[in-house]
Symmetry: C2
Amino acid sequence: MKSTATFYHAGCPVCVTAERQLTTALDPARFEVEVVHLGQARHRLAEAERAGVKSVPALVLGGTVLHINHGADVAALR
Amino acid sequence: MKSTATFYHAGCPVCVTAERQLTTALDPARFEVEVVHLGQARHRLAEAERAGVKSVPALVLGGTVLHINHGADVAALR
């Protein structure tokens, strides 16, 4: 069964390359990647925070939050 | 042909889970993952810095540096 890997971002232009690189590098046989733009999908901010996301871009992978580089604090998106 | 994905770390205990999770999540058909412990392999510090690594853990993927969470600054490992 595939796991879901959720990539949260906020459109941060300097991070787009990094984001694409990472989400496309994951094993497609094992992960279903969902990309969530928290600037547009603001109703998912609470879910991201519950998962432990403090800043974007971040990848939530099997319950572990990986904060990648630093675009913006989630608190600043509210 | 496989690309090399290099994961630099410094043994940071809090990051071990995150590191394992990310390196094993990469597509094995496309990436050869090399894990480098910069605390032990100090002769590779210069190479990591040239690649743009500022802090560990970091993953260098196709020329892009992804700084993941924050364990230690590379400068502090010298």
